[in-house]
């Protein structure tokens, strides 16, 4: 008994001295996320990080996405919470950054911020103090996903202009093929459809004018784009106003529709469900040849550091690791989601295409600019486009309603 105790004490002392000489004591970070499905990827990343930083261990914990925000805010409000936090972007980031729960990041504590484009950092910036609060992890885009086989079988090429798009849709319909599998019964799908199909017709200049207040949503560019959308909706899924998101996905996955206007994130999902699909992507068609073709992009979220953590140095080391091109490359190739980090090497050809298209992009407007107050621009756009496509209001009325809602809080529209 005495002997065992002595051995144990000796071992403990030796261990303490060893760890002291090796790299301080072990620091354990907790890292919260809502991405249960990416757990294997993150475990792998943590191993790589530990190879470089043997003194730090990271415990990865996930919560269901629908409860994540609530659980996180509750923990942070109680002064607890993890050391490293996966957070969302834009308005959603503000709900936890505004009360001061997150550590501000800058070029001093995270030099790797230089690896990111401005728009990506803007997504993780608090508007009130202009500081960055998280390292962005993924860019998403709204565009058109198409079934290459259906296009080839019918001798079709991705359309450049809106007229070509209409002609193509009509040609497909004449052959009894659904041109689009999209439906509008799920509210948020109306916003993705607008982003995927109308971005080129709206244009970067329209976005700049909205931001500066030179134009509002009753602008002819917006109204006429909505009218075009109404026009092309005749080529959506049969009974499209009653077709919800999963049904529209299934229609496309089953190869029973040629195109799906929506997110770049759909591609990996479609391929998982039907690996035989040969898919491609193209940007929203332009009004007249020569105009710039655009996709609508936004950033999903980022990795932040808890302002109250006692392990700030270790947490910053981990977050800096998550901002390196090596990490971005692993993220992009494993999760088939485009990391915004500059200088990554992309293997998947469709992700390469998305990255190339993203060089000409406007913001996914309502998410990026108008999700900070009620009524959110997204909710207004979704319900009014849904109503317009159901034939219950004109494009002019839809635009006026959207504008009226945003003008209740958006100063540039109140002049």
């Amino acid at each position: 008994m005495k002997l065992t105790r002595r051995i144990l004490m000796g071992a403990a002392a030796a261990g303490f001295m060893l760890s002291g000489t090796a790299a301080m004591a072990q620091t354990e970070l907790t890292f919260w996320s809502w991405r249960q499905e990416d757990k294997a990827f993150y475990q792998d990343i943590i191993k790589k990080f530990q190879a470089a930083e043997p003194g730090i261990t990271v415990k990865f914990e996930t919560y269901a996405p629908e409860n994540y925000q609530t659980i996180l805010s509750t923990a942070l409000a109680a002064g607890r919470g993890p050391d490293v936090i996966q957070v969302r972007a834009y308005g959603n980031l503000e709900t936890i950054a505004t009360p001061g729960y997150l550590l501000a990041l800058d070029k001093q504590n995270v030099p790797e911020l230089a690896n990111f484009p401005e728009a990506a950092l803007a997504a993780e910036t608090l508007r009130s103090d202009g500081k960055v609060y998280a390292v962005p992890f993924a860019m998403q885009a709204q565009l058109v996903v198409y079934n290459k086989k259906i296009f080839k079988d019918n001798g079709l090429n991705p359309p450049k202009t809106w007229d070509e798009m209409m002609a193509l849709a009509q040609a497909l319909k004449a052959k009894n093929i659904n041109p689009f599998s999209n439906g509008t019964a799920t509210a948020w799908q109306n916003e993705t459809i607008v982003g995927g199909l109308l971005s080129s017709m709206l244009g970067k200049e329209f976005e700049a004018d909205i931001v500066s207040g030179k134009a509002n949503f009753t602008d002819p560019r917006f109204v006429s784009a909505l009218a075009k959308l109404k026009d092309i909706s005749q080529y959506f899924a049969p009974n499209f106003i009653g077709v919800d998101y999963p049904s529209s996905q299934q229609l496309f996955v089953a190869g029973r529709a040629a195109m799906f206007a929506g997110g770049s994130y759909e591609v990996a999902n479609f391929k998982n469900q039907n690996p035989t699909l040969d898919l491609g992507v193209f940007p929203a068609p332009v009004l007249k040849a020569g105009d710039q073709a655009l996709i609508a992009t936004y950033y999903d979220g980022g990795y932040a550091v808890n302002a109250k953590t006692e392990k700030k140095d270790a947490a910053l080391k981990f977050v800096r690791f998550l901002a390196t091109p090596e990490y971005g490359t692993a993220f992009t190739n494993t999760l088939k989601n485009l990391s915004p980090i500059k200088g990554i090497k992309i293997e998947d050809p469709i992700t390469q295409d998305v990255a190339k298209l993203a060089e000409n992009a406007m913001s996914y407007l309502m998410l990026v600019r108008f999700r900070y107050q009620e009524p959110s621009g997204s909710v207004l756009l979704q319900s009014n486009v849904q109503k317009m496509l159901a034939g219950q209001q004109t494009p002019e009325q839809a635009a006026a309603e959207i504008n009226k809602g945003i003008a209740t809080y958006y100063k540039p529209f109140q002049k």
Binding site: Q69, G91, I241, S247, Y372, S376
Partner: protein, 310 residues
């Protein structure tokens, strides 16, 4: 009854009573009374996400009832709750009453039917919601398929996507789910009616309609009291079926929006409006609670008065 009254009220007896009464009181205070009171208190503060801001008095209540942004949404949802209540009284409780009468008459296989009618009540609301969503799918759902095969093509509709049919479809799904409950309660009520009364009425030559209207309906009044009160509370707390079938937004364009969905969106945010506002959410919840308590009490008192002792 007599024996217990004569029992001396010893300390032991009192302790026994306390032992029985105290735990549920503590439990209720902790998990029912305290949350209600704290929600009431939350409603008087400004909130930044889940962090409590300054005291703002009645501002949140004012915003819920009269605010430019919030009030139209709230009143739109309130009207849908009222509509759902009226429709469910007729379809769910009325249907339950008729089903109960059929079961009461003990037709062939009534034992089987008595169980069959109640089975949907036992199913999870999530399952019922998904099931009906599939039934109502415009392209492959059995409802439109059935209409097409009957040659009633013009009746087929994109049910949940059409603003004129979506709320009705939710109400029907809800009625299908719960009709077994009023049926069972009414059946129990009918079986309490002394058979002499019904036999006497039959001898006097009443027809089926008169019998139902003048004898059975008044005599099952206690069942009606319970069912109407529960339905009233249920209709104004309606959440699960709309949430599962049309989502948090009351799609299409607010035509199925109900107060439960508005509350959830306001307090916890949704995918397309990530703003969480506990102050407004608590104010709405408090108003809804007061409304339900006041009207449910009035309804109960009024319904009690038409109950007949026999």
């Amino acid at each position: 009854m007599h024996a217990s009254r004569q029992q001396p009220r010893t300390l032991k007896h009192r302790l026994w009573v306390a032992f029985l009464v105290v735990p549920p009181i503590v439990f209720m205070s902790l998990f029912v009374v305290y949350p209600i009171l704290s929600a009431f208190a939350y409603a008087f503060y400004d909130w930044q996400g889940l962090a409590r801001g300054p005291f703002v008095g009645l501002k949140n209540f004012k915003e819920v009832l009269f605010g430019v942004t919030m009030a139209p949404v709230v009143w739109n949802a309130f009207l849908h709750n009222v509509y759902a209540l009226i429709a469910l009284i007729i379809i769910q409780n009325g249907g339950g009453f008729l089903l109960a009468w059929l079961l009461y008459k003990e037709p062939f296989g009534f034992r089987f039917h008595r169980i069959a009618v109640f089975v949907p009540v036992v199913l999870s609301t999530i399952i019922v919601g998904f099931l009906w969503k599939l039934f109502l799918n415009p392209n492959f759902g059995i409802i439109n398929q059935a209409l097409y095969s009957l040659g009633l093509d013009s009746w087929a509709k994109p049910w949940l996507g059409d603003s004129s049919t979506a709320l009705g479809a939710l109400i029907l799904a809800n009625a299908w789910h719960f009709v077994g409950f009023p049926a069972l309660v009414y059946l129990a009520g009918m079986q309490r009616i002394p058979t002499e009364i019904i036999e006497a009425a039959r001898l006097d030559g009443t027809n089926e309609w008169q019998l139902l209207k003048n004898i059975v309906w008044p005599l099952v009044a206690p069942s009606t009291t319970i069912l109407f009160t529960l339905l009233f509370i249920g209709a104004f707390n309606w959440f699960e079926i709309p949430y599962v079938m049309v989502g948090l937004d009351g799609s299409p364009f607010g035509s199925t929006d109900v107060l439960g969905l508005v509350f959830y969106r306001t307090a916890f945010g949704n995918q397309s409006a990530s703003i969480q506002n506990f102050g407004l959410g608590s104010a709405l919840a408090t108003l809804l609670f007061l409304f339900i308590v006041v009207f449910a009490s009035m309804l109960t008192l009024w319904l009690r008065r038409r109950e007949i002792q026999f």
